[in-house]
């Protein structure tokens, strides 16, 4: 059987909804696409822990400090799980981390921004984790089974994070006028990055969907996010900075303002407001903890 014939047979398995295991034969294009996608997801888990980590020392009480610390630990743990899945597709964890801290690979756009107040922590905990969960639940039906297993492990924890974030939000919006305003300001600040979160309009030739590495279009995911979270924001009297955002009963979908994509692509390229600072921090940690990796890799036999 030629390579093309095997690839066509493989594509037939994908279209039929079959799952692919790490040891299965797969076309190079599938392997590379899955590797890049999962590696970027892992990078984003690890880098996504940083904006919240900055608030652990400033959490308002011990309960919040404990829960935020646990959340940061969870996110880094998700990164560890995903790097392991990606390794089986042909790239070592060391190489992936080296590529990340040296800017050769990317992480998600939403983690390139600064956090100014506890309101930002609430937005990240509820709306950004909510957006992530919309995406990650869709990945439970992806074609690469080791990734699906990882998502089965990760989604329940993200669901917990979501509840944690919602509790922070409710605390602020039911508090003093200053606390409500702090959350409203944070929503205003983060709305555009959140609109960018789901990515630009999907291409007709989306190879990630072609291989069922992802299962839904960017539009459909963003629309689900709107349906799930915007009414809840409105219910507690929080506005979003988009006058055009409204449910269109005729289209049975949301009208919204295109946020513009120029600075989105700049951020993706590594020119976001906090990109260099957060990468420098990760690089410093990577370098100063090299001895741990060396010990792990070279534990001598007992004498």
């Amino acid at each position: 059987m030629t390579y093309e014939e095997r690839a066509a047979e493989f594509k037939g398995r994908i279209d039929a909804g079959e799952k692919i295991e790490a040891g299965d034969w797969m076309p190079d294009e599938y392997r590379l696409s899955a590797l890049k996608f999962i590696e970027m997801h892992a990078n984003s888990e690890v880098m996504g822990a940083l904006p919240e980590r900055e608030w652990i020392p400033r959490a308002p009480n011990l309960k919040r400090k404990l829960s935020l610390t646990a959340k940061v630990q969870d996110e880094v743990g998700h990164g560890q799980i995903l790097y392991r899945v990606a390794e089986d597709l042909g790239k070592s964890r060391e190489q992936m981390f080296d590529d990340l801290v040296n800017g050769r690979t990317k992480f998600h756009n939403v983690f390139h921004y600064p956090t100014y107040t506890w309101g930002d922590v609430a937005v990240i905990g509820w709306l950004i984790d909510g957006a992530a969960l919309v995406n990650q639940k869709a990945l439970l039906d992806a074609s690469y089974m080791p990734y699906v297993r990882a998502m089965r492990r990760i989604c329940p924890e993200e669901s917990l994070h979501l509840r944690h974030g919602e509790e922070l939000v409710l605390e602020l919006v039911s508090g003093t006028p200053d606390q409500r305003q702090m959350f409203q300001d944070a929503v205003d600040r983060w709305w555009r990055p959140i609109m960018h979160f789901f990515g630009p309009p999907s291409k007709k030739r989306d190879m990630l969907i072609y291989w069922r590495i992802k299962t839904r279009s960017n539009e459909s995911l963003r629309s689900e996010f709107f349906s799930t979270y915007v009414p809840k924001l409105w219910d507690v009297g929080i506005t979003v900075p988009d006058e055009n955002l409204a449910w269109n009963e005729e289209l049975r979908d949301w009208d919204w303002s295109d946020p513009g994509w120029e600075d989105f692509w700049e951020t993706i390229r590594g020119n976001g407001p906090m990109t260099s600072i957060r990468l420098a921090y990760r690089k410093a940690m990577w370098d100063t903890h090299a001895w741990v990796r060396e010990v792990f890799a070279g534990i001598p036999e007992a004498a």
Binding site: K36, F37, M40, K63, H108, A132, V173, D235, G237, I238
Partner: protein, 144 residues
């Protein structure tokens, strides 16, 4: 460093099922990493590791009731946030009464926007050898 499959049981009657993997130099370290990575939140009643390519199963020694810890770490689990949904509804009623809720068109309760799954067979692929670039990958909404 060797690769180990991590296996777990959600209930005592379950068969061992692969839940993920870790890398470790020996079985002892593999069990420690497996517990911390995959069973930190009371995800099951038993766990084990199996070096990839081998049959021998190394079963973790923690009893079901202590796997996931015995100290009060409820803030790490769903039950710590029971009642958040109810609080949101009560607050929404209060805001409506105070005239603070935003009254704009919204989908009827329970109705989601259309267009969920996309069939991979429906995607135009003139050149199936195409692999997305790093930037295209990073523009997708997959994040931590």
């Amino acid at each position: 460093v060797a690769v180990w499959d991590v296996l777990g049981k959600r209930t005592p009657d379950d068969e061992w099922a692969v839940v993920g993997g870790i890398k470790a130099p020996d079985a002892e370290m593999a069990l420690i990493l497996a517990k911390e990575t995959h069973f930190r939140h009371k995800e099951g009643v038993g766990y084990a590791v199996r070096r990839r390519g081998e049959d021998e199963l190394h079963v973790g020694s923690y009893a079901p009731e202590v796997l996931g810890g015995v100290t009060d770490r409820s803030y790490r689990r769903q039950e710590a946030y029971t009642g958040v949904g109810g609080k949101h509804k009560r607050l929404a009623q209060e805001m409506a009464q105070r005239g603070l809720a935003v009254d704009r068109p919204r989908p009827p309760v329970g109705r989601m926007a259309p267009g969920l799954r996309v069939s991979p067979a429906s995607v135009e692929a003139e050149n199936a050898a195409e692999v997305p670039t790093e930037e295209e990958i990073a523009s997708q909404g997959t994040a931590g």
